[in-house]
C-alpha cells in the first residue's frame, strides 16, 4: 500500500521535473553590448585647411602583454599600449577637433553614440587633461560645441591652439554623471569615467 501511494506521485514529479528542465535546449543568444564604447575617433583639421586626419582609439582589452590584434583592423594611429597615439601638429596654429564615439562590437552594425552623448549633455562631460610639459598648448570649446542646459560646454568640438615647439601627453575623458561640470583636473568632476583616451601631442 505504501508503494502504491507514494511511488506514483514521485514518478510523476520526476517526469515533470525532467520535462521542465529539458525543455530549453536552444543555444543562448549572444549578448549584444549596447552600452559599450569601443571606438573613439578624433578628427583633427587645421583651420583654413580642408585636410582632416583621423585618430582612432580602439578599445576592448589592450592587455599589458603583447598581443596579436587578429580581429581588429590595425591602423597607423591605433592606441597601442606603451606607445601612445601621436598627434602631430604645426606650431602657431589652430585646429578644429571633433570627437566621435562608436560601439563597433558588431562590425555589421556600428553604432554612432556621439549623438546620444550630445542629447544627454547634462549627464556627460568631456575633459582633456593636458600635462605641464605641453606648454603653450591649449584646448578650448569650439564655437560649434554643444552647450548643456546650464551653459557649460561639453567639449565634444574643440579648438586646439599651439604656440612653440613642444610635446607632451593629453588624456581625454568622457565622464558620466559628473558631480561638477567644470574643473581643472579629472577629480574635480567626480562621476564615473566612461572612457579614457591617452595620446601624445607633438607640436613641431
Amino acid at each position: 500500500m505504501l508503494k502504491k501511494l507514494h511511488i506514483k506521485p514521485i514518478i510523476t514529479l520526476c517526469l515533470f521535473v525532467l520535462i521542465f528542465a529539458c525543455s530549453k535546449s536552444d543555444d543562448p543568444d549572444p549578448a549584444h553590448e549596447e552600452e559599450a564604447i569601443t571606438l573613439v575617433t578624433l578628427e583633427v583639421s587645421k583651420v583654413g585647411s580642408s585636410e582632416t586626419t583621423k585618430y582612432n582609439f580602439e578599445v576592448e582589452g589592450h592587455d599589458h602583454a603583447d598581443e596579436d590584434h587578429e580581429d581588429e583592423e590595425d591602423e597607423d594611429h591605433d592606441d597601442h599600449d606603451g606607445e601612445h597615439t601621436e598627434i602631430e601638429l604645426e606650431a602657431n596654429s589652430s585646429y578644429n577637433v571633433s570627437m566621435f564615439i562608436y560601439n563597433d562590437t558588431d562590425p555589421n552594425n556600428v553604432e554612432n553614440i556621439t549623438s546620444e552623448i550630445i542629447e544627454e549633455k547634462d549627464e556627460h562631460q568631456i575633459f582633456y587633461a593636458i600635462t605641464d610639459e605641453l606648454s603653450g598648448f591649449s584646448i578650448t570649446s569650439a564655437s560649434d560645441d554643444t552647450v548643456d542646459s546650464n551653459g557649460n560646454p561639453l567639449f565634444i568640438k574643440t579648438t586646439w591652439t599651439t604656440t612653440g615647439e613642444t610635446s607632451g601627453e593629453v588624456v581625454g575623458y568622457l565622464i558620466h554623471k559628473p558631480t561638477s561640470k567644470t574643473g581643472s583636473t579629472r577629480n574635480d568632476f567626480g562621476g564615473a569615467t566612461d572612457f579614457e583616451i591617452d595620446f601624445e601631442v607633438h607640436v613641431e
Partner: protein, 825 residues
C-alpha cells in the same frame, strides 16, 4: 474588539482542554447516560439531527464505543462499531460536545447548529507505543548527535527580525558577516562564505546564486521558528559541500488541537527612518489539519554614517509564506509556498568608472555623492525575487521507521542595475533566473540506542541569463543535474556517549553554454583545450558547449562524551568535496564597486577540505565555558585574486581570476558565562581565526579579525519582566592580509603620477557599544505584549569594517535606535 474577544474565546477553549492522559482510569460505567432531557426551547427549532463519525486521528480507523455527550442538555450516545453516531432532537444554535473514549484524551468541541449535519471527529489514541512517537515528533530533531548545534533564542531572533539572517547569526561566536554596504550581508562561518555555507530552509538548500559576495541569501528568517547552525558540514542529509557550516531554518509542528495563535513584531528604526512589520499566524484543528501564514513588510530609507548620509542605501522588502498541512502524528503531509521580494539600493558613490576613479574614491574621506535623506531607491540597485513551492509527505511505521518524500521548486530572479546611459539605466545589467527542482526521499530507523538515516536526492538546476541586458553575461546559461545518496548512523551506547558516522555521494553534471570573446580566448590559449567544444562563432565570440562532471564524496565522523562529570567533550572530522561553482569556472564581467574585471577558470577541479573541530564545555558552579578549536585543510581551495591589469577604453582595470590553492584555516571560538546572581550575568564570546596559503604562507583574503564581545545582562528585583543588557564589541584590525595593492598611473593637475591603489589594507580596530532594554511580556487582553528598546553604536563611532566590500567608499552606519513591539496572539 470583536476580533480580540474571538481570540479570547479560543484561548479559553484551549484552557478547557482536559489533560487526562491515562484515560483508562476513568471507568466506563461511571458515565451515566441520561435519557432525553427536557429541552428548554424558547421558540427554537429542536428537531435537528447531528450525525457523526468518530475516527482515529492517526490512521483514520473508526472508533467504536466513544461517548458523545451534549454538555448543554446531558444528552449522550455511543458510537457504533463503524464509529457512527446520531444525536436527534437538537435545538438550533451553539452546542457543546464532549467526546470521550477509553485510551483517549477527551475532546471538547463547539458546534453551531442551524441544520442537520454530518461531521467527522478525530480522537487521538494515546497507546503506549505512540506516546514516545508523539513526544519525539513534537520536539525539534537534533541536527547531529556529535557536532554542536547553536541555536538562536526567541529574543535573539526577534531582535534581528528586520536586519537579515546574517546579522542575526552573527550573535553566535565564530560567525561573521560578509557584506556589501549595510543591507546586503551573508553569513561567514569559520572564515568561509557563499557556496561553502549551506542555508537549509524547510529541508532544502536555498539556491540563489550564493557564490557572489554581494548576493545575500534571499530568505526571510521570520518565517521560521527555529534557526540553528552547525560549524562544519555536519548535516549530510541536506548538504555535503559546505565545509564552512550549515544554517538550518525550520518550523515547529503545530499541535494537534483546535487553536489559533501567532506573533507580530513591529520595529521602527531611527537610522534609515524605516520600519519593519512581521506577522505570523497558525490555525490548527483537532483533525490534525493546520494552516500557517506569515508576512513581512519592510521599508527603509538611506542609512547614515555618523558624519554623512549614505545616499541610495534604502531597502524595500515584501515577503509572504503559506503552509497547509495535515499532521496525523503517524503520517504528515504539507504543502508550502513562499515569495520573497527585495529591492536594495547600493551606495551611489560606489559606482565608479575605472581605477582612476577608485584611487580618487579611496583618497577622499567621505563619499563623492552625498544627497539629502531619501526613501527612493535608484541605480545602482539590486532587485531580487525568490519563489519556493514544495510538497512533502512522511509516514511512520509501527517499527519506528519513518519514510519521507519531498519535492521542492525554487525560482530565483536576480536583477542588478548599474548607473547606465539614458534609457539603459532602467534596464538591468544582470538578469539571472535560476530554477531549481529538488526531489528527496529518505528513510529513518530508530532504536533506543542507535539510529540510521539514508536517502536519495535529485537536483535539477537551470540558469538563464537574459541576453537583453545589453552587457556581457556574468554567468552563462547552464543546466546542472545532481543525483546522489547519503547515509548517516549514530550510536549512543550510553546516555552521554555518542558516536556518529555518515557519508554523502553526489554525481554532478554541468551542461554549460558560454560565449567567450575571441580576445580572451586567444590571450588564454583556450583553443588547445577548449577548441573541440566550440559550436558556433558570432560577433567575434565563440559559443562553447561543455559537459563537466564531478563526483563528490563527503564523509563525517564524530564522537561526543564526557571527560569528567561536568566536562563535555566532542570531536568531529568533516571531509568535504565541493564541485566548483559555475561562477568560479565561468564568470566573466565587470564589478563596478571595486572596478575589477572578474574571470572564471574553466579548468578547476573539485575542492576538498578536511576540518577537525574539538569542543570542550564545562560548568563549574556559576561559571560555564565552551571552547572550540578547529583546523581546516583545503586542497584545490578556490580563491579569487588579482592577476594583472586590463586596459580598456574605460581605463585600467585590475583583473581578478579564480585559482586553486592549498589552504590552511584554523582558529577557535570561545564562549564564557558567569552567573553572578539570579539578576546578573556576564558573558563573553570571542573568536580568532587565521587562514593562509600553505606553500607561500600568504594570508587568505577576507578572514575576519579577532573579535570579542562582552555582555552584561541584568534585571531588577522590584521590576518584574525587565531585562537590560549592555554589550561591548571590539573588532581588532586584521594584520594578516594578502597585499593586492597595485599602482595606477594618473594625470593629476597637469602631471602624470603613479599612485598606489590601496585596496588591501584593512581598516583600524574599533569598538561598539550596544544597549538593550526589554520589557515584558505583559498581559494585554488575552494577548501578551512585550517591548524592546535597542541602541546600536551608542557612541556614534565612525568606523570601517574589513568584511564590507564597500569599505573603501564610506563609513559604516552610525547610531541606531530601534523600538520594537511584540505581540503574542
Amino acid at each position: 474588539m470583536s476580533f480580540l474577544s474571538f481570540i479570547a474565546e479560543l484561548l479559553n477553549l484551549k484552557l478547557n482542554k482536559c489533560k487526562c492522559s491515562r484515560c483508562f482510569t476513568v471507568p466506563k460505567t461511571a458515565v451515566s447516560i441520561s435519557l432525553l432531557a427536557a429541552c428548554f426551547c424558547y421558540g427554537q427549532k429542536c428537531d435537528l439531527k447531528l450525525e457523526g463519525q468518530i475516527l482515529d486521528l492517526h490512521d483514520n480507523s473508526p472508533i467504536s464505543a466513544a461517548l458523545i455527550k451534549v454538555l448543554d442538555n446531558d444528552q449522550a450516545v455511543f458510537s457504533n462499531d463503524k464509529g457512527f453516531f446520531i444525536l436527534k432532537n437538537q435545538c438550533s444554535g451553539k452546542i457543546k460536545l464532549k467526546i470521550s473514549h477509553l485510551n483517549c484524551e477527551d475532546i471538547y468541541q463547539e458546534l453551531n447548529l442551524n441544520k442537520s449535519v454530518f461531521k467527522k471527529f478525530y480522537l487521538e489514541h494515546h497507546i503506549e507505543s505512540l506516546e514516545e512517537v508523539i513526544v519525539e515528533e513534537r520536539k525539534i530533531k537534533k541536527l547531529s548527535t556529535t557536532a554542536n548545534a547553536y541555536s538562536l533564542s526567541d529574543l535573539q531572533k526577534d531582535q534581528y527580525s528586520g536586519r537579515g539572517l546574517a546579522k542575526a547569526l552573527e550573535q553566535i561566536s565564530g560567525v561573521n558577516v560578509l557584506s556589501t554596504g549595510n543591507v546586503i550581508s551573508k553569513p561567514m562561518i569559520h572564515g568561509m562564505f557563499g557556496s561553502r555555507v549551506g542555508i537549509i530552509y524547510d529541508g532544502v538548500q536555498i539556491e540563489n546564486q550564493q557564490w557572489g559576495q554581494d548576493h545575500a541569501p534571499n530568505i526571510d528568517q521570520n518565517a521560521f521558528e527555529e534557526i540553528r547552525l552547525i560549524k562544519g558540514a555536519g548535516v549530510l542529509k541536506y548538504s555535503g559541500d559546505t565545509p564552512g557550516g550549515v544554517v538550518v531554518l525550520e518550523n515547529d509542528l503545530p499541535m494537534v488541537n483546535d487553536s489559533l495563535y501567532g506573533k507580530s513584531i513591529l520595529s521602527g528604526m531611527s537610522n534609515g527612518r524605516g520600519f519593519n512589520f512581521v506577522s505570523s499566524w497558525t490555525r490548527s484543528y483537532n483533525s490534525g489539519n493546520y494552516f500557517k501564514a506569515q508576512a513581512m513588510i519592510k521599508r527603509m530609507g538611506d542609512f547614515s554614517a555618523p558624519k554623512y548620509i549614505l545616499s541610495n542605501t534604502g531597502t524595500d522588502e515584501n515577503n509572504i509564506s503559506l503552509t497547509y498541512g495535515k499532521n496525523k502524528i503517524l503520517s504528515h503531509w504539507k504543502a508550502n509556498f513562499s515569495y520573497f521580494s527585495q529591492e536594495i539600493g547600493i551606495l551611489r558613490s560606489s559606482h565608479i568608472g575605472n581605477v582612476n576613479d577608485l584611487v580618487h574614491a579611496i583618497e577622499l574621506a567621505s563619499p563623492t555623492i552625498i544627497r539629502p535623506f531619501s526613501h527612493q531607491i535608484a541605480s545602482p540597485k539590486q532587485s531580487n525575487k525568490h519563489y519556493t513551492a514544495g510538497i512533502q509527505f512522511s509516514k511512520r511505521n509501527r517499527s519506528n521507521g519513518k519514510l519521507n518524500a519531498k519535492y521542492s521548486w525554487q525560482r530565483n530572479n536576480r536583477k542588478e542595475y548599474d548607473v547606465r546611459r539614458g534609457e539603459l539605466n532602467n534596464k538591468p545589467s544582470i538578469d539571472l533566473t535560476l530554477d531549481t527542482h529538488d526531489l528527496f526521499s529518505n528513510y529513518q530507523w530508530k532504536r533506543s540506542n542507535w539510529s540510521l538515516d539514508s536517502g536519495v536526492f535529485l537536483q535539477i538546476q537551470d540558469n538563464f541569463s537574459n541576453p537583453f541586458t545589453g552587457t556581457r553575461r556574468l554567468i552563462p546559461d547552464y543546466i546542472k543535474t545532481e543525483l546522489g545518496t547519503y547515509f548517516t548512523a549514530s550510536l549512543s551506547p550510553s546516555n552521554d556517549f555518542s558516536l556518529g558516522f555518515g557519508f554523502r555521494f553526489g554525481h554532478q553534471n554541468n551542461h554549460v553554454k558560454k560565449y567567450y570573446k575571441n580576445k580572451r580566448w586567444n590571450d588564454e590559449n583556450y583553443q588547445d583545450q577548449l577548441g573541440a567544444f566550440v559550436i558556433k562563432e558570432v560577433l567575434s565570440q565563440k559559443l562553447v558547449e561543455q559537459r563537466l562532471i564531478f563526483n563528490n564524496l563527503s564523509v563525517n565522523t564524530g564522537v561526543k562524551f564526557p571527560l569528567t562529570e561536568e566536562l563535555k567533550f566532542s570531536l568531529n572530522i568533516f571531509h568535504t568535496e565541493r564541485a566548483p561553482d559555475i561562477a568560479e569556472m565561468f564568470s566573466d564581467g565587470l564589478h563596478h564597486s571595486l572596478a575589477t574585471i572578474e574571470y572564471g577558470n574553466p579548468f578547476l577541479r573539485s575542492e576538498t577540505t578536511q576540518k577537525l573541530v574539538l569542543n570542550f564545555e564545562e560548568k563549574i558552579g556559576k561559571f560555564t565555558y565552551e571552547i572550540s578549536p578547529y583546523y581546516t585543510r583545503g586542497q584545490n581551495y578556490i580563491i579569487i585574486e588579482p592577476t594583472g591589469i586590463e586596459y580598456t577604453i574605460r581605463g585600467a582595470f585590475p583583473v581578478w581570476e579564480y585559482r586553486p590553492v592549498n589552504a590552511i584555516i584554523r582558529g577557535f571560538d570561545l564562549d564564557l558565562s558567569l552567573r553572578l546572581s539570579d539578576r546578573i550575568e556576564l558573558k563573553n564570546n570571542s573568536s580568532w581565526i587565521e587562514g593562509y596559503e600553505k606553500a607561500t604562507k600568504t594570508p587568505l583574503i577576507n578572514i575576519p579579525p579577532l573579535t570579542t564581545t562582552n555582555q552584561i545582562l541584568f534585571s531588577f528585583s522590584n521590576w518584574k519582566s525587565f531585562l537590560m543588557s549592555l554589550s561591548s564589541k571590539t573588532i581588532m584590525r586584521q594584520n594578516q592580509f594578502p597585499n593586492h595593492n597595485f599602482e595606477a598611473s594618473v594625470v593629476e593637475n597637469g602631471k602624470r603620477v603613479n599612485k598606489l591603489v590601496d585596496i588591501s589594507t584593512p581598516p583600524k580596530a574599533y569598538h561598539l557599544l550596544g544597549m538593550e532594554l526589554h520589557w515584558g511580556p505583559y498581559p494585554l487582553n488575552s494577548n501578551k505584549i512585550s517591548l524592546s528598546l535597542i541602541f546600536d553604536n551608542v557612541f556614534n563611532t565612525s568606523y570601517r569594517n574589513y568584511l564590507n566590500r564597500l569599505r573603501l567608499f564610506a563609513d559604516e552606519m552610525g547610531r541606531n535606535v530601534m523600538l520594537q513591539i511584540k505581540i503574542y496572539h
